[in-house]
């Protein structure tokens, strides 16, 4: 019997997708589907944007595919260069970046780019590379060096000012450092201090948020954001408006939601940034708690899979990189949902694979590609 054409192309087809981790691929496809359907409702059918979103999704998966085929070794080799380039661009931004809305974050190199975005991947790459280099001979001194590697770009980004991105980059680096073996006796005091700090803010919120109280190291608008989080009703028509309205959207969704395209909060324009940072409010209003459990389940599966891949990765570099990338996904999802549901201050963080926006999707695709690459090359390296 002659082979059918499909059978004939099957090996080729499989080899084409051989880099894809099937679990990860399915989870991401699920997230992308949720994102796309929510986007359709949130965007209110502007054809141009729909085409845009489809293109972005395709681009994201294409980048994912491409990166999944890149051996982790290559990433290891280029880590320093990418990091160096990122820092150089950040310095360039500080020197002659574009100013929009009072912040110097962008660089015009023919197209306008935001170098801090690069840092989100460059930071874990660089630190993973560094700890790989120092594997087995780690000393206290190494953590100090790692701290400096971390501090330089974070400082530059925070100065722009872009506290949200700075915190995310800092978190990405911190994950690597902690996973690399930062002794618990150094970590726990910080965790303790942080917890006490949060408690103090919750207890004394109204006092320190008084109008004439200035906070050290923090811009006034940042103080305002945190204070608004503590009590959104303190500024119902200003900064608090967004939080209150997105909470109303989520709360009014109930268990089953109002149904696709039926969200009044979203469709009557009460939700700000409803197809980007606040897209979760739209989803939540229309698909309810049931939808949210599924969505959070998908994210949890994504992270679990990422951590599993990292745990079985062949060397320290890939292990650290994989886990850090996974935890970045987690951080995005947690911070975004936390902020939209009024649990965390409002910082500009997209919901991975759900929020509209090309840059974020490509970055995320890159990250997912890294995970796939690590998984794919696990035996190749070991053997």
């Amino acid at each position: 019997m002659e082979k059918s054409p499909i059978k004939k192309f099957q090996p080729l087809f499989f080899s084409f997708f051989s880099g894809f981790d099937r679990h990860l691929g399915l989870i991401l496809l699920g997230l992308a589907a949720v994102g796309f359907f929510t986007f359709l409702s949130a965007s209110q059918n502007t054809p141009v944007q729909i085409a845009d979103e489809l293109r972005n999704l395709a681009l994201s998966f294409a980048v994912m595919w491409l990166v999944s085929r890149i051996p982790p070794k290559w990433l290891e080799i280029s880590a320093v260069w990418i990091y160096g380039l990122g820092v150089a661009l950040l310095v360039a931004v500080a020197a002659f970046g574009l100013i929009k809305k009072g912040a110097r974050r962008w660089l015009n190199i023919g197209i306008v780019i935001q170098p801090s975005e690069i840092m989100k991947i460059a930071m874990p790459l660089m630190l993973a590379w560094y700890f790989q280099k120092r594997e087995g001979i780690q000393k206290a001194w190494d953590y100090a060096v790692a701290g400096i590697i971390l501090a330089i770009p974070v400082f530059l980004i925070a100065r722009q000012p872009d506290l949200g991105t700075a915190l995310l980059v800092f978190a990405a680096g911190l994950y690597v450092i902690i996973l690399a073996g930062l002794p618990w006796r150094w970590i726990l005091p910080f965790v303790g201090v942080g917890m006490i700090g949060i408690l103090l803010i919750i207890i004394f919120g109204s006092t320190i948020c008084a109008h004439d109280v200035a906070w050290p190291f923090v811009h006034n608008y940042q103080k305002h954001r945190i204070c608004t989080l503590l009590d959104p009703s303190s500024d119902p028509l200003g900064k608090g408006f967004h939080t209150i309205q997105s909470m109303i959207a989520i709360g009014s969704g109930g268990f089953f939601g109002k149904g696709w395209f039926q969200g009044t909060q979203a469709h009557l324009e009460f939700i700000p940034e409803k197809h980007t940072d606040f897209v979760f409010a739209v989803f939540s209003e229309e698909f309810g708690l049931l939808g949210n459990l599924i969505l959070i389940g998908l994210f949890f599966a994504l992270i679990k899979r990422g951590l599993t891949i990292s745990a079985s990765a062949p060397n320290l570099f890939t292990r650290l990189l994989g886990a850090a990338v996974t935890l970045i996904f987690f951080t995005y999802a947690f911070v975004n949902i936390g902020m939209v549901s009024g649990l965390l201050p409002v910082v500009g963080v997209p919901l991975p694979f759900i929020s509209y926006g090309g840059t974020a999707l490509v970055t995320l695709g890159f990250g997912a590609g890294i995970l796939m690459s690590i998984h794919r090359h696990r035996r190749l390296v070991q053997s």
Binding site: E135, G136, Y175, I178, L179, G181, Q245, M247, I248, A249, I250, G251, S252, G253, G254, F255, T264, Q265, L268, E269, F270, S284, G288, L289, N292, L293, I296, F299, F300, I303, K304, L307, S310, A311, N315, L316, R319, A323, L327, F330, F334, I337, G338, S341, G342, L343, V381, Q382
Partner: protein, 635 residues
């Protein structure tokens, strides 16, 4: 490839586990939060979302008509074109928008001010009128330029109109835009109606009301006239832009009020007063229906509806003629000799005099160190009760007052309504003064002022001294006398009419109380008053009347009404006496009583009685005086 150390991998695995735990904890936190929002607080947020998306747009109710007793409409509504601006479209550049609009449509500074005030109040909701009563040319110019002004539109709105302008302005009153004070009053209304009375529904709509009665019947019958505004439930965006109407609650038009006033009589009297100032009240004694309620000079209530312009306002407010002053309701005057019939009746009822008992009048009356003079030099000679009324003999009443004392007079006059609130259906009624020893004690501060001096009693007998009453009270008292002591509360509105079914519900044709009087005594007084019009002071005015009318003239010295103001501009005219007159007719079964004052006119017989005669001729016989222009129904 360096083989990795075992402990290192273990430590990494351990940290991955901790990370997994951390992630799980964080996600559980999120789930808890979402359960809190979407299950536990769901109803609260569902309600918030609902109130978010729905706005209530008030649809004003048609205001009830004001109709006279013969069906003539004196307060009505008409539809006119208004330039409306959608509040959402003008954020920030209000002035620029108005400037551009004023190139094609005349917009006064007052329009501009009103609009800005409304815009601030509206919280960017709904449409706000910028200019009302556009004429055809303006409408056309705007339509041609419409494309330049998104969010600006022309709409038909209802306006209040008083078709006879000045006619009966003090009793009709006017409506105006709701002021801060009105709002506070409405707020109190809302709070008072928390019980389950039928007005509670109406109270809940109060915030949507834009116009409210300011004075007159428009004010006192506000709740009847205004109806219940309807509301459209409109789905709106966060910016306040209406998307679609979800439901409508239709407005309930206000009820019509049917006046007891005969507007033609009112018109006639207003014309007869000419340039004289004064007050005139006619009452149907049997019912308490007020037939005419004149305050001269008057004003045009139409000027007030959309806010009065400052020039007209200044003119009205600063005029020494006080056109805004409701004289029959608030002006207090000494009744002068019109008080004498009541004094005579008091004497009979208290057995201080008999009709035939006489006095000898030398033309004056000495009391203590003071001489009280009679109008007639040399006196009226021998005077009995009828003569005392017909010729208006002062001495007779000086003596009578002395014999009765202030408190007996007070106690007799009080049930007639002198110095009392009559309870007419208008706000702001003046009480006046019916003196008594108690009154003086309670009114003055210093002990020597609180004491009643006998000498003060004497001039009370001729309606002077502390006596000061409104013309409404005088008319009311006359009605009570004409009605043989049956007291009917005077009222301007006799029925409330349903605008659809035209069913009328009578308001207050109820007897208040009855003064215990002997009919013989009443007849003595009435007979004497009839004689006044036959051979007495007003005989000239009533010569040839086709009916029998009783009356009494009075002349009061100027002292009460705005006496302070008058001192400044002390012209001779303002110092002249007020002419008063009271009447009832037909004498055997009175259908109308009159009390009136013509300010600073001089003698009552000369200036007041002739007006009363013509009013009675018209009311009883339908005769229209030649000098007064025909009544014309408004278009």
């Amino acid at each position: 490839m360096v083989s990795f150390k075992k402990p290192n991998l273990d430590s990494f695995q351990e940290r991955i586990h901790i990370a997994t735990l951390f992630v799980t904890f964080c996600f559980l936190l999120l789930v808890t939060r979402l359960v809190w929002l979407q299950l536990i607080s769901h109803s609260k947020y569902a309600l918030l979302a609902e109130s978010n998306r729905i706005a209530l747009v008030p649809a004003p109710a048609n205001r009830g008509l004001i109709i006279d007793r013969n069906g003539i409409v004196i307060g009505r509504n008409y539809s006119a074109l208004t330039l409306d601006v959608n509040a959402e479209e003008v954020k920030g550049n209000v002035d620029q928008l108005i400037n551009e609009l004023s190139e094609i449509i005349d917009i006064s500074p007052r329009d501009r001010r009103n609009f800005k005030r409304s815009l601030e109040d509206s919280r960017n909701m709904g449409t706000i009128p910028l200019r009302s009563m556009l004429n055809e040319a303006e409408t056309a110019r705007f339509m041609a330029n419409r494309y330049r002004f998104p969010g600006v539109e022309i709409r038909a709105r209802n306006f209040r109109e008083y078709p006879y302008n000045e006619l009966a302005s003090h009793l009709v009153g006017y409506i105006g835009r709701v002021s801060q004070r009105d709002k506070e009053r409405m707020q109190a209304e809302i709070e008072n109606s928390k019980t389950d009375d039928p007005d509670a529904l109406q109270a809940s709509f109060l915030p949507g009301i834009q116009y409210v009665g300011k004075i007159g019947l428009e004010q006192s019958y506000e709740t009847v006239l205004r109806g219940v505004p309807g509301y459209d439930q409109v789905e709106i965006t966060a910016g306040g832009k209406p998307i679609r109407t979800l439901s409508s609650s239709p407005s309930v038009p206000g009820k019509n009020i049917v006046l007891s006033v005969d507007v033609k009589l009112q018109y006639l009297v207003e014309q007869l007063y000419g340039n004289f100032r004064g007050a005139f009240v006619a009452i149907e004694p049997e019912t308490g229906d007020v037939l005419a309620f004149v305050s001269k000079p008057n004003f045009n209530p139409n000027d007030f509806v959309e806010g009065i312009d400052s020039v007209t306002w200044k003119e009205l407010n600063d005029s020494p003629q006080k056109p805004l002053y409701n004289r029959p309701l608030k002006g207090i005057y000494p009744p002068g000799s019109t008080y004498k019939p009541f004094m005579a009746l008091a004497a009979l009822e208290n057995k201080k005099r008999t009709p035939s008992q006489t006095i000898s009048d030398p033309g004056y009356f000495d009391f203590g160190n003071h001489t009280f003079r009679d109008d007639k030099k040399g006196g009226h000679g021998i005077v009995d009760m009828q003569k005392s009324i017909v010729e208006s003999c002062d001495t007779y009443y000086y003596m009578l007052a002395r014999d009765m004392g202030v408190n007996m007079m007070h106690d007799f006059m009080k049930p007639f309504g002198f110095g009392q609130i009559t309870g007419i259906d208008l706000e702001g009624e003046a009480r006046g003064v019916l003196p008594s020893t108690d009154w003086k004690k309670n009114t003055f501060k210093k002990p020597e002022q609180q004491k009643w001096y006998e000498g003060e009693t004497i001039s009370l007998g001729i309606g002077q001294g502390y006596n000061s009453f409104t013309i409404l009270q005088l008319a009311h008292a006359m009605a009570n006398l004409a009605n043989n002591g049956v007291v009917m509360k005077p009222h301007l509105v006799k029925a409330i009419e349903d605008p659809f079914t035209r069913n009328r519900v009578l308001t207050t044709p109820k007897e208040s109380y009855r003064i215990d009087l002997s009919s013989e005594n009443i007849d003595v007084i009435k007979k004497a008053m009839v004689e006044v019009n036959i051979s007495g002071t007003s005989a000239a005015a009533f010569r040839g009347a086709g009916y029998v009318a009783g009356g009494k003239t009075g002349t009061a010295q100027v002292f009460s009404l705005n006496s302070k103001d008058y001192k400044h501009g002390a012209t001779a005219e303002f110092l002249r006496d007020h002419a008063l007159y009271i009447a009832f007719a037909p004498a055997d079964k009175p259908t109308i009583v009159i009390a009136m004052v013509v300010e600073n006119a001089g003698f009552g017989a000369q200036y007041a009685a002739p007006i009363a005669r013509k009013a009675l001729d018209y009311y009883i016989e339908g005769k229209w005086p030649r000098e007064v222009p025909e009544w014309k129904r408004a278009p």
